[in-house]
């Protein structure tokens, strides 16, 4: 008898049996309510808590797969126009904050000219010229702004060898994106070259919130 009781107790402890027994005691409407509640609650738990985890993992995997695909394509070779541009323009730093780029631009120009013994030069900086919202949005977007450029108009005189070296140094500097306009004029009398050039550095112009007023 004690064995029977023990078994009976074991059965009663089985949560599934208890649930079914409890469910059997419910009125018909309550049974439907329990079923609907279980289905709805279960779906909510899955949809709100569990499946979003999988979604996030899948999004990350998709991003990685796309990245690997692009890397594999690049391993076969850069697009010809990009390779040609990279070769033609030399090293360039990815644009960052415009103000920072401006400071680097001015410092680089000054440094290169002084290195070649050109201490007398003029430099006119023009800041904050927008390049358009569609330009390098993938860089400017995350930094919360649009792409702009700082242009430095420089003029100086130097010996021909120095001029070529200066141009090469400026164009080769990662802190200068491009030399846009250039005018070289050789003066036979002085055997010096007068240089007028515009160099530019691109950077992200941060959007400043507009101040409103009543």
């Amino acid at each position: 008898m004690s064995q029977a009781k023990s078994n009976s107790t074991t059965v009663a402890r089985d949560p599934f049996v208890r649930v079914i027994s409890w469910f059997g005691t419910l009125p018909r409407a309550a049974k439907w309510g329990v079923i609907a509640g279980a289905l709805f609650g279960g779906f909510l738990v899955l949809d709100e808590a569990i499946w979003p985890i999988a979604d996030r993992m899948n999004e990350r995997s998709d991003r990685w797969v796309a990245m690997l695909d692009r890397a594999a394509e690049r391993a076969d070779g850069l697009p010809p126009e990009v390779a040609a541009n990279a070769i033609a323009y030399g090293p360039n730093a990815v644009p960052e904050d415009e103000a920072k780029g401006m400071r680097k631009l001015a410092a680089t120009v000054d440094g290169v000219l002084r290195k070649k013994g050109v201490s007398k030069y003029s430099q006119d900086l023009r800041r904050g010229q927008q390049l358009g919202t569609d330009v390098l949005g993938d860089i400017a977007g995350p930094l919360g702004g649009t792409m702009g450029r700082t242009i430095a108009d420089i003029s100086f005189e130097a010996a021909p060898d120095d001029v070529t070296a200066i141009i090469a140094d400026l164009d080769g500097s990662a802190d200068i994106d491009a030399i846009t306009d250039l005018k070289l004029t050789y003066a036979p009398a002085t055997k010096r070259v007068a240089v007028q050039m515009s160099v530019e550095k691109w950077g992200v112009l941060k959007r400043t919130p507009k101040r409103g007023g009543a």
Binding site: M1, Q3, A4, S8, V17, I20, G42, L46, I50, M57, S61, R63, W64, M67, L68, R70, A71, R74, G77, L78, E81, V82, A83, A84, N85, A86, I87, A88, Y89, G90, P91, N92, V94, L131, L136, D138, I139, P160, D161, V163, T164, A165, I167, A168, D169, D171, A174, D177, A178, I179, T180, D181, L182, K183, L184, Y186, P188, V193, V195, M197
Partner: protein
Amino acid sequence: MKPTTPTTYDDQLLAVAERRADRVRALLVRKGERPTVLDAREFDAADPMTALLSWTESSRCGDVRVLLPASSTIVRQTTLPNAIPSQMLAAMRLQAEGMFLGAIPASRMGLGIMPDTGEADRQGIIVAWPTPARGDADSGLSARQEKVVRYVPEVAALIPLASGDTPAVFADRESGSIAIAMEGRKGLVLRAARETGSADDAADWANGMRQAIAETILNAGMEPSRIAAMVAATELTSTQSGSRTTMIGRDAIAQLRSRLAVQVVAADSNGAWWNDWAILLGATIIATGPLAELARLKRVEEGVKTSRIELLVKRYSDPSRALRACLAGFLIIGFAPVAFAWVRSAVVQWKMPEEPAVFERNQKAIDQRISHYRELGKRTLPVTKLLGDLACCTPDGIEIESIQLSGTQGISIRGVSKAKSDIFAENLVTEMASNMDASGVFEKSRPRFDAGDGRGILKFDIEAPIVRPTLASQYPEARDWAKTTLVQRKYGKPGDDEDAGGASTATGSSTTSRNQTPTGGAASGETAAADPESNGTGETQVASADAEGASANASTPGGTASVGGPARGITRRPTTPAADGAAASGAGAGANSGAGANAGAGAAPATMPSGAGAGGGPAAAALANAQIPSTFTDEELRAMTRDQARGLLSDFAKAKGRADLDEATRKRLQTDFNRILDYLKSLT
């Protein structure tokens, strides 16, 4: 692998078993006129049925009967006209089908005809084992084991124990099963009942059982006045074993003793043994006697193979199991996507060459650089590269005074062209424009020049739009400053033969012969083959240049012009793009090879002002009067500065140009010339 020998079963052996909550009890019986109980065993292992079947197999017994609880069965009694047994069985089968409307398969139905008592009618017993609506409870037996197991209804096992004095009762409180058998006035009375709702209360259970006994006695035709006494007498015979109650009279035990031979030692030594094993002994008598048909029930009809789907449906018809399956399904539906996503993520991560975060950051940087270069290509000009292109397009004899580069207006060049000994100044200008167009970087160059003066010098300007600024144009080696330095153009490459200084430098030049008429704005398509003699004599300009070509300076004898002659082109980029992503996107490697190289960018000219050479006469005179420098020692050479060495190189170059040299002198000059060149190289 050891081959398995098929077991040879003894047809005369029979095992009768009773399943209890935690164990199985079994008798091993040899069939015969008087069945013999050979052994009695209890199995209380984790899987007692498997242990039982192993035991029967080892005992070569292939016939196993298991008691079927009375609560699982339905008992019907009927009367049949006395006939031959097969006819009576057929009639009874028809009756059974009528009773149960074919809902119970034949394998789950037992039929028995009681022995002839001399009366006209015979009593028939039908025991049916209906399939519960929710399916059979799990028997715990495999399909193979199920094949050898047959079932004996408890109520049938009580038939040999029934007497007229007190009913034989076998009840299980746990399952609420009650089986009762009694000999009455009208014959045998059998009852299989289920007492529900009283298992937890001992008094209720006892009352329910008492009531069932009373009803059975009443059905047996006993006088009502005797019922209470008979119930009491029955209860006096009660013995308890676990949840099971057995009520059997002494005469029933005597009956068992008389009909069975028992070789179990405990049967002789322990008086209670017979009572304890009575139900199994009764089943033994039924299974081996004329009512054996009642003891051959099978769960599944033999020969009918249950499909897997049916088995599955049956298996999950149990609500508890179905609920478990639902919960498992919910968890699978819920977590499988997460598991798959994790596995996919791990596989992709495994494919990455470095840590995902680092790789992602690097790839993002590369993407940004590519975008950056694309935009730069659309909006700006690679000025240094264009100056290099211009240098490669500029023939000897052109002095550039002004260069203007603009993204919107293209290139504008102004300069002076000086005729060479065999080429008109106009031809040099048109050749330059032609070279520019041929490069593909510029297009539709528009050269303009004035009439020139009597010395063959004219001023010119060229304007051209820049159409493909980043195009890596392929220039002839002789014009490509990246491949042929100025000094190599002028004096040949070190190690070349004697006339390298003269002839080889001119071989690549594409100039229009003086004998040809200038064609104004268009370059002449004909190119003159180099004339070693004329070029050799025309070399009045001596360049002093370091062999590495970092810079090159040239000076005319008359000091009319001073130009920096780029030795490797004006920052001409290597023509072979760095194809790999790292090269292009990383530090922009490969894009800056020309840094520092260039001279002509500035005031001019990647070309040598060839005033002397162009004019011919004075230069020739100067060349003829050039002194032959004396040789020098290595110590003297090492003591020289770069400028001194360059000056000396210039002297040797001039002297080499003399036509009146004997072979030995020419050889010495060439040797010393090469020594100076090597020394200049070593300085860099």
